[in-house]
């Protein structure tokens, strides 16, 4: 039966059919849908873990107990999980353990661009790379067998264009039953990494790598596809698809297993073609490993290291490398000039908007930009930000974020700034899911070290940016079970914070008062700003409208950056289809002329 599946759906289905019984993840684009897909099966335990490190540890424990286990995360998520990942590589497993890591070349939704394939080499474990959804499905079965045969976790590496592309999958397997009942085999030399035991493991890891390299020589998903012999292309993942279009007549060595590499296969392939080009996204990972074998190849001299590839870029690289004689098939295209950009925005009715408007005005941040939008001068407030929808408050008109580094970093950065001596008007802003992910220990640190910073936790009751996953604060598991919710107030109080305020996200006066009071407070203070994510509103009522008889065109409402408040050809209006209405009303609270009110009561009409 053929199905149109995304790479992530195919990975999950492949894992399910391979007999996975435990899956753990923290949401992160482009990996999120893997856990969401496998969570739909009743005979799998699937959890949203607090963060990727915990997910890896849960996965490791399950694998120690003999279960086939799936851990899925995004490229920077693996940074978070590196400690237990290296431990897993060191101890090995019992039940098969596969870690799916989804890279994000082109930085569609990440804070940096990094090539996680290096982690396979660092950890000395095998890595597989699917090139479409079919291979995503097929390789998962192989990965679990390999994991158990070689006593190692296996890294399956995908990218946005594999994880988030849909293509046809022949679903030709059924779920295999678990090979054995769960149970833990006592073996301290394998599982207790005292130095004396870890020293014994290292030679075993080196030996495992040699055996894996031998295995790679006959790995069936390393395929040679002969074409003309003037050019041989070595490639993997989605880069194969681009190279296939750019060099339709060339010979290909398409690698399904990209660490360790099959030396003899590579030597033989290189021997039979005139030139070898390696086509890969981001770093010259394959290229340098192949060159280290003494094989002459070209690649990153012509193919960009930064950003996502496509067929056109690869074709152009081939032309510059003198590999394509024929002139470009694609004609020169005129890019439209001067069109207004359309960056993503906080939604209409977003519970973050009010807080950021308050921070913008209290910090007099609109003065930070000159007429061309360039930054100048120092703010009266420093706002350290974090990872979530609220990072969008960086853009004008809210312009209320100064830094964003990585998950959970806002609080540590704020304390560091204060200790460096910038004063105490430093505010860390962090979402609820991100706070639970990796903000808690920073509050402990701030209390312990006598910080005076203000911490705002934006509690919208969901992990919004990745598509509304539950988290420990919601008390609902990945599989919809009710559990004990972690209460942020009690958690923070338990750490030792005394100055805690809980504020309605849509009460502008209360927000302003709370921020002012916390900034003046001589101790570390926490403001929990609570409001339902606008996308999750069950019902919408009372869209607002502008009474043009009262409106004096002052433009304050536009400074909220609300997508529902629009102005075209000089006319201000609120798009009733977008407005969150009674659930929000912050524009109404702001309007000095009281010109905004419920649509039915206002005289104004929304233009069609």
């Amino acid at each position: 039966m053929k199905k149109l599946l995304s790479g992530n759906e195919a990975l999950a289905l492949g894992a399910y059919h391979a007999g996975v019984t435990v899956a753990a993840a923290y949401p992160g684009t482009p990996s999120t849908e893997i856990l969401e897909s496998i969570a739909q099966f009743d005979d799998v335990y699937a959890e949203w873990s607090t963060n990727e490190k915990v997910a890896m540890e849960v996965g490791l424990g399950a694998a120690y107990a003999g279960a086939r286990t799936l851990v899925s995360l995004k490229q920077v998520g693996l940074n978070v999980a590196m400690d237990p990942f290296m431990a897993a590589a060191t101890t090995g497993i019992d039940g098969g353990m596969v870690v799916v890591c989804a890279g994000d070349p082109g930085i569609h939704s990440s804070q940096n661009e990094q090539d996680d394939r290096h982690y396979a080499r660092l950890a000395k474990i095998p890595m597989l790379e699917p090139a479409d959804s079919q291979e995503a499905y097929d390789l998962m079965a192989v990965a679990y067998d390999m994991s158990e045969e070689f006593d190692t976790p296996v890294l399956v590496y995908t990218t946005t264009r594999i994880s988030h592309s849909k293509s046809l999958v022949e679903v030709n397997r059924k779920r295999v039953a678990p090979a054995r009942q769960p149970g833990f085999k006592h073996d301290v030399q394998k599982y207790v990494m005292l130095p004396v035991h870890a020293r014994l493991r290292h030679p075993l890891i080196e030996d495992r790598l040699v055996k894996l390299a031998a295995y790679a020589e006959t790995f069936p998903h390393n395929q040679v596809l002969w074409g003309e012999r003037h050019l041989g292309v070595v490639t993997s993942g989605v880069a194969y698809q681009y190279a296939r279009e750019a060099f339709p007549r060339a010979s290909f060595l398409k690698l399904g297993m990209t660490y360790p590499l099959p030396r003899n296969v590579l030597l033989e392939f290189a021997d039979k073609v005139d030139r070898v080009m390696v086509v890969e996204e981001l770093d010259p990972f394959l290229q340098e490993n192949i060159q280290a074998m003494g094989i002459e190849v070209i690649g990153k001299e012509f193919i960009p290291r930064a950003g996502e590839l496509n067929s056109g870029i690869v074709e152009e690289a081939g032309r510059r490398a003198g590999l394509l004689d024929e002139p470009s098939q694609s004609r020169q295209v005129d890019l439209p000039q001067g069109l207004p950009r359309r960056p993503p925005l906080l939604c209409p009715g977003c519970p973050h908007t009010g807080l950021f408007f308050v921070l913008n005005t209290m910090g007099q941040r609109s003065k930070l930009l000159d007429s061309s939008g360039k930054a100048q001068g120092e703010s009266k407030l420093i706002i350290t930000g974090d990872i979530g929808c609220y990072t969008l408050a960086t853009y004008p008109p809210l312009s209320a974020m100064d830094t964003t580094a990585c998950m959970g970093a806002s609080i540590g950065k704020a304390l560091g700034m204060e200790k460096a001596g910038v004063g105490t008007k430093v505010i860390a802003v962090i979402g609820d899911s991100t706070f639970l992910h990796s903000g808690i220990t920073s509050v402990v640190n701030g209390v312990y070290n006598g910080g005076q910073i203000t911490i705002v936790i934006l509690d919208n009751g969901t992990t919004a940016m990745t598509g509304h996953q539950d988290h420990p604060g919601t008390g609902i598991s990945a599989q919809g079970k009710k559990t004990q919710p972690v209460e942020l107030e009690r958690l923070v109080r338990g750490i030792g914070v005394n100055d805690i305020k809980v504020i309605d996200a849509f009460d502008m006066k209360a927000l302003r008062a709370a921020v002012r009071s916390s900034l003046d407070s001589p101790e570390l203070s926490v403001i929990i700003v609570r409001g339902t994510c606008a996308v999750r509103l069950q019902t919408r009522s009372g869209p607002r409208a502008v009474d043009m008889d009262k409106c004096d065109d002052c433009g304050i409402c536009l400074r909220l950056g609300c997508p529902a408040i629009q102005k075209l050809d000089g006319q201000l209006y609120i798009d009733a289809a977008l407005c969150a209405g009674d659930a929000c009303t912050i524009c109404e609270q702001l309007c000095p002329k009281k010109a905004i009110g419920p649509l039915s009561a206002a005289a104004a009409e929304t233009p069609k």
Partner: protein, 199 residues
């Protein structure tokens, strides 16, 4: 089997991903190889959304090259202009005649292009430009969110795929309480572009 590279563009929240999902499913049922990929940026709403759908006997890259799109399906006028350079010479542009000003336009720091400018940008690539009143029609039906099925109806009139396959897939994908209005929107879209001569 002729290849068809379709690019669906618009603004987050307009239902583009569901529309391109249905298009992919229908093409699969009709026997095409299908690849589909979306570019969403980081937020759910308000930003530019781009969905590549490729249909052929065999498809390699999920991304369509610039200048090779056979059908540009734009849910919003500014987005039609923004992605016009993807059109192949003589490709078809189906454009919902509706403006959603981005924030910079509302704030007065940027100008929304005139209809003439949008038309000129598109016609630099192709003469086959078809403006439709999808948002207006969907609003008349009682739900502007039916725009995506209206646009799919337009697309269907240019693809050699049996209309029943479209209707079956839409029936399967949409909840029954909104099915009627969306099916009507699909039929209206199909009718609207069936009668236009776009060369």
């Amino acid at each position: 089997m002729n290849k068809q590279d379709l690019l669906m563009v618009g603004v987050g929240g307009q239902g583009i991903i569901l529309a391109s999902d249905i298009l992919g499913e229908v093409a699969l049922t009709a026997g095409y190889d299908v690849k589909k990929t979306d570019t969403l940026g980081m937020a759910q709403r308000g930003g530019s959304v781009l969905s590549h759908v490729r249909l052929a006997g065999q498809v390699s890259s999920p991304l369509i090259k610039e200048g090779e799109v056979d059908m540009l399906v734009a849910f919003e006028k500014l987005e039609a202009a923004r992605w016009a350079h993807f059109l192949s010479p003589g490709g078809l542009a189906i454009v919902n005649n509706h403006a959603m000003p981005p924030l910079s336009v509302s704030m007065g720091t940027a100008r929304y292009p005139t209809d003439e400018e949008v038309g000129d940008i598109l016609r630099r690539q192709t003469n086959r430009v078809c403006f439709t009143n999808g948002t207006g029609r969907a609003a008349e039906l009682g739900d502007v969110r039916a725009l995506n099925m209206f646009m799919l109806g337009c697309v269907s009139s240019f693809l050699p795929i049996d209309v029943d396959l479209w209707k079956d897939c839409i029936s399967q994908r949409l909840p029954s309480r909104i099915l009627q209005i969306n099916m009507t929107a699909f039929e209206q879209g199909r009718k609207e572009t069936s009668n236009v001569n776009v060369g």
